[in-house]
Structure formats: structure tokens, C-alpha cells
Symmetry: C2
Subunit: 233 residues, 2 copies
């Protein structure tokens, strides 16, 4: 069975990595059996054979693959008879572009918004690592990274406009069927909701309906995980 290393907080059920969520949803989309293995920031040795020090990492029949897009491409090529994650060549490009956009546009602002919430849920052994690496990245104390959460949220809502335009005209990012482009974005919402209630969408935001549609996939994979960690969908 495929093994998926998943970043967790103090509670094994608090799987909060956005990139791991892309892969978890991709594995469910493909209908592949897998075992999620809890992993924490400081357990670098456990995933060393992958060639890197961050998750997601999968091990499939002895083969290690890391990074969410590389894993999606691996799964697509290794299991061509399963439902496609991309749908077409253009769908693969859409997935790659969506992921690049999420990484460059959303990752930092959302990170700032939920940084102290993440910290409060970490395992004891991960706290020093997290505080030091993030305070270096943001150039200030964790508690000072987001002095105005309301302004940060307003800014994030504006940044979401390109995906909002897609959600306004179709059910999923690529059209009528879900695929990797959805999971690339959905990971960001799972990340936030696993530790925080701050990333809220406006009532009339078309992205709310999209989020609900992805929430209902795979027997409510996302909401069930949120509930297991004591969070609301």
C-alpha cells in the first residue's frame, strides 16, 4: 500500500500541511489505497530517502516521490487506468499554473494570518524549530507578523479574484469535473481550517459554493478530517 507522510500537530489527527492535502485528495481522486503516516517538522531522517526534508512524500512499491506536483504527475503516469487528475494536457498545465499561483500569491498572506494558530497546535518538539524558522522568514516575532488580521483577510479576499472568476462560471477549477487544480487550491483552505477559523469567505463569495463542492468529494474527506481534529468545516 502507498504510504503518505503527513505533517501533524501535537494531535496526530491535526494534519495541516497544504501541500500534503493536495496529495491526499489526489490519492482519493485516483481511488488508491494508502496509509497516512504522521510526521513532524523535526523528523527529517524518516523521509531522508525522498531526497528532501519536507512533506508531502509518498512511498509506492519502494519508490520515494516528493513534492505535490511531482507526486500528482507520478500517480497520473503510474495509474493511467484510474480517474485522471488533469483531464487533458491543458488540464495538466492548469494544475501546474494553479499551484504556482497558489504558492506565489496565497502562501505568504495566509501563512501570516494563521501563524500563531499553527504554533499553538504544534507538538512540543516542533515549537522551537517553527518559531526560529518562521521568525527568520518574516523578520519579526511570530506574535507580530499579523498586527491587523482584518486587513490581512480583506487583502486575501482580493487576491482570490482570479479563482473566484472560475468559480463564478463553473463547478470546479477545470470545468465540470474536479481535478488537481481544485486540490492545489483546496489544500490552502484545509491548512487554514485545520488550525484556525480566520480564513473566512464572504457569504456571497462564489468560492464558498466551490469549497462546499470539494468538501463533499470522497465521502467528505476534508470535513471528516476537520471533525476528527475538533475543527468545524
Amino acid at each position: 500500500m502507498i504510504v503518505l507522510y503527513e505533517l501533524t500537530g501535537a494531535d496526530d489527527a491535526r494534519r495541516f500541511s497544504p501541500a500534503v492535502w493536495r496529495v491526499r485528495m489526489a490519492l482519493r481522486h485516483k481511488g488508491l489505497a494508502f496509509e497516512g503516516r504522521p510526521w513532524r517538522f523535526t523528523e527529517k531522517e524518516a523521509i531522508a530517502p525522498s531526497g528532501g526534508g519536507t512533506v508531502p512524500v509518498i512511498v509506492d512499491r519502494g519508490r520515494w516521490v516528493r513534492e505535490s506536483f511531482a507526486i500528482a504527475e507520478y500517480l497520473e503516469d503510474a495509474y493511467p487506468d484510474r480517474p485522471s487528475l488533469f483531464g487533458s494536457g491543458e488540464g495538466r498545465a492548469l494544475g501546474r499554473f494553479m499551484l504556482a499561483w497558489v504558492d506565489r500569491t496565497l502562501a505568504f498572506p495566509v501563512s501570516r494570518l494563521i501563524l500563531t494558530d499553527i504554533f499553538s497546535h504544534l507538538a512540543e518538539g516542533d515549537r522551537d524549530y517553527f518559531r526560529q524558522s518562521r521568525e527568520k522568514r518574516f523578520g519579526r516575532r511570530l506574535e507580530e507578523v499579523c498586527p491587523d488580521p482584518e486587513a490581512e483577510l480583506a487583502s486575501i479576499r482580493l487576491l482570490l479574484e482570479p479563482v473566484r472568476r472560475l468559480a463564478a462560471v463553473q463547478d470546479f477549477m477545470g470545468g465540470g469535473m474536479p481535478g488537481f487544480a481544485d486540490y492545489a487550491l483546496y489544500g490552502t483552505f484545509m491548512w487554514a481550517r485545520m488550525v484556525s477559523t480566520r480564513l473566512a469567505l464572504a457569504e456571497d463569495d462564489p468560492l464558498r459554493a466551490w469549497l462546499g463542492r470539494v468538501d463533499r468529494l470522497f465521502d467528505r474527506e476534508g470535513p471528516r478530517a476537520l471533525e476528527a481534529a475538533g475543527m468545524r468545516a
Copy 2:
């Protein structure tokens, strides 16, 4: 024959609207005969039947259609036997997302970089309109909008990272074949090159090779237009 209203400068050959270039390339992609009709900012009445006051506007068999993505969808649906602009449902989503990204991410920075170059090429009758509307938009005099062009260019090169990632792994934005997602981005480069030499890509930027590939389409549609306006490709 389809009529395409095209924004021009003092010289009819200086067709510099990014949105019109998306449509010109789309018409060529479809292999449709069309007449480009020079149009200037202040000639609102000429295109009033379109329902708006900006180009691109096409008239096809008495039907007026405006805005580049709406025109692309119109052409795709009205001429289904011609080469597809999207390739697939996901390709249509990619085109829509690319356009939203270009509009939200690139339009303002590139506009700042080339603003005075645009102004210098305008028809006399368009100058007051342009100065007033753009000085209102940017909140300062045209000549003060871009005090540091080198820093602006460096920032634009960073902003291009998501499309650079696509160009690094495939010939065109959607994969192996050109389509509307390419033209959505290409319009920005034609806009800049029609009036300015400032939007330069680094020698080793994968986007340079992509730009060259789109330049070579349709008997060098873009470079021929640049040469006709006295600019270099």
C-alpha cells in the same frame, strides 16, 4: 468579413491594445478573414452598438461582441470546425484563469513601466483623455508614475514566475499547442513592444523562447506588425 476595432496611436499601424492583440491572434488562430479597423480612445460612438466604450469589439454578420474572452468564446462556439482556441474544457478554464491573472497581476505594473512611451505615440486628439484618465487612476502626473524603471522591471520579472514555470517545461502555455492562454499573455508583450523597449526579458528566461515561438505563429503576425510601426521584435 469580420470587423475588428483596434486601438491605434497617431500612426494607424501602431496597434497597441493588449486586449485587441489577444483577439487578433485568436482570429488568426481560427483562420478567419477579418478587417482591422483603426480606432482611438475618444471615438466612443463608433463602437456604441457593442454596449461598451472600449475595444476589442468585433462585428460578425451584424452581431457585435466585446471584451477579449467573450469574443474568444463567441469565435469558438460560432466556428467549431476551425482550430480550437482552448483545446479542451480545462483549456478554456486555463484561458480564463490566465486572463484574470494577467489583468490582476501584470496590467498595472507594465502600464506603469511604459506609460510615458504610450503617451508619446498617441494621436493628438487622444492625449488629453489619456493624461486625465491615467493621472486619476495612478494619482500622480504621468511623468511621475514610474520613478525607477529598473526596479519596476525587476518586479515584473518576479511576477512572471508562474508563467515562467509553464514555459520551462512546455512549448506553449497549455502544452504542445498554442491557444488562447498564450494570446492572453502575448497581448501584454505586444502592447509593450508596440510603444516601448522597456519590457525586456533576461537572456536565460524561458519566457524568451516562448515569446519567440508565439512570434513565429501565423506568418510572424506580431513581428510584422512591430516592423510596420517601426519597432523591433
